[in-house]
Symmetry: C2
Subunit: 352 residues, 2 copies
């Protein structure tokens, strides 16, 4: 635990640096931190903080800048989360698209709301729910030997895919399909549908196997697609504006463009207990992110389904403002999605 005065100084350095982006000198601190001591005293304290690795100087004749550890200490011990103003709340909400009941769209919109609000890049995932089950499967013929298969899950995910059949599609065939689907898939957890299950099913169909096989395989594909939680990234171009990325912004954007690591970024946030996680610089584990911070928050639908939403930006970001903003957005999302997709058991009497 740092002595109080040193804490004050550290907090002042962090906050001032976040605001201006310029290294903070001892003179400047004198007026900022509410301390009635001379700049020399502050310099002594700063020397201590430097020795402890919490701040550093870009070069000998410059002021101090927080190190990664400094940010961490600030975030863990010193930061006071800001109250959200009413109009900020409104700004966040207004970006959300409540209308379409599609959770994928909602999360996409939420990401973009964050982009607009924060001027950073935002990342969001669609809900993944290990207990999700199949709500409905429809087959819609589009041509003699081609049909569209549509899958709807209990979490509101809708996936569709065209499927070419080996034999012409007759009303009879449609009925058969409908029967099979009703018996074998409705209410089935997504996790229970896999290649083996499909093959067993096909095998049991006897004469009908030939005509049904491509359709059932398509179902398997759709379930697969519905199980994977999608990751949306938006607002990357915002990052160009920040001078900390000056030349190699392209490098960061390329990194974010590759989708694989994004999954890691978000899923790794399972470790901590709290529902909001701040990762500063190299805490992100990826070299490309060593100058970036993420603030990731998990949302929940009822008790099972979860996803995450958050931002990526330079380590110099206004944590005390962003944390409550993201928390607020997450709460809205959780509430809205829970309202819609967990209504089954409740009586659900509210109107819009």
């Amino acid at each position: 635990m740092l002595p109080q005065r040193r804490q004050k100084i550290l907090a002042a350095i962090v906050e001032q640096y976040i605001e201006t982006g310029e290294p903070v000198g001892s003179k400047a601190l004198q007026s900022i931190a509410g301390l009635d001591v001379s700049s020399a005293t502050i310099r002594n304290e700063m020397a201590e903080l430097t020795a402890q690795g919490l701040i550093t100087q870009p070069h000998t004749s410059a002021g101090r800048v927080p190190t990664q550890a400094g940010y961490r200490y600030y975030v863990d011990n010193l930061m006071k989360p800001a109250e959200l103003e009413e109009n900020e709340r409104r700004r966040i909400e207004s970006g959300l698209d409540y209308r379409s009941g599609d959770p994928e769209q909602l999360l996409q919109a939420a990401g973009e709301a964050l982009v607009d609000f924060t001027n950073f890049a935002a990342i969001s995932t669609t809900p993944s729910d290990e207990h999700a089950f199949i709500k409905n499967i429809e087959m819609v013929p589009v041509s003699p030997k081609m049909a569209m298969i549509v899958l709807l899950t209990s979490t509101g995910i809708l996936k569709s895919k065209a499927c070419r059949t080996d034999v012409p599609i007759t009303p009879d065939l449609q009925d058969t399909f409908s029967d099979i689907v009703r018996k074998n898939f409705f209410g089935t957890p997504l996790s229970d549908v896999n290649t083996v299950m499909i093959q067993t099913l096909v095998a049991s169909l006897g004469a009908k196997a030939l005509s049904m096989s491509p359709l059932l395989v398509t179902i398997s594909d759709l379930v697969e697609a519905a199980s994977v939680s999608e990751i949306n990234l938006s607002g990357q171009s915002n990052l160009l504006g920040y001078k900390e990325y000056n030349d190699n912004a392209g490098q960061l954007l390329d990194f974010l463009h590759r989708e694989e690591p994004l999954g890691m970024l978000v899923s790794a946030s399972g470790d901590s207990d709290s529902d909001i996680e701040i990762r500063i610089g190299s805490e992100n584990r990826y070299k490309e992110l060593e100058n970036s911070s993420m603030i990731i928050s998990k949302y929940k639908i009822g008790d099972n389904a979860t996803g995450a939403i958050g931002i990526i930006g330079p380590t110099r970001m206004n944590y005390s403002k962003l944390v409550p903003s993201i928390k607020y957005l997450t709460d809205i999302i959780s509430k809205f999605l829970s309202d819609v997709y967990e209504e089954e058991s409740s009586s659900g009497e509210e109107d819009s």
Copy 2:
């Protein structure tokens, strides 16, 4: 019409500059263009070309660079479209996702294929078809007073939206809905569905109007959404790499981020008769694009539906290579989408 030798010189300047990005001097040209004249002669010709506004010098002691008019002349009169190599064809094709029958996904994938292939940003639109009609509408209950409505059009566009009903959803209500939809919507052109049509229909329902109204309004929303052709932009971050955008790449990205102008960009390509259009620099009409070129190609599904796909990059791009590439991609898309969605009338006997 320029004298032949001058044409050769212009072509050499354009091609050399496209390749290296450096201003081209008279000495260098001597060896590049197959001309057996001294650099002094070439200098004289260059002076002429400069006077005609086809080339310019960045500064007094530098070589020449094509002006926008120079590129235009080159593209219109001098350029020889390159033959695509077999492996280039494969590279383009391999990026396409044929599997899901969803044209929106296909076009998205096509855009990304272009991004990978060209290293520029790509833009693509989903098909818009004034003669498209409604193929199917399904209602899927998700909770007592909530249903998912799914719309499928003749062009394969699938849209869905959640809808909250005023009364509980009963099998009876579902049947009623199903009847109404079958009678009034199946086969109806998208353009015929509008607020007036919906209101007339609701009015004619008598006692059932109350329960049906929200559902029918949702249909109207879905038709609206299906009618608008979506615009996909991808690969923006590629543009950062090009030094012509050096500092203000952010400005361009911001411009591309706003979606409104994109529609203009693509739709404006209706003017010309040819199916591929090259717009150089300020020909794009937007100040933000004065250093950029677009190559846009239209695809067709059968005779009605059309959309566009193309690239955006610095004016210094390899037109002679890119034009055939994009043409090739467009052909594939046209063929594939036509195969799938224009099969109705034909006997459609091919297998995959």
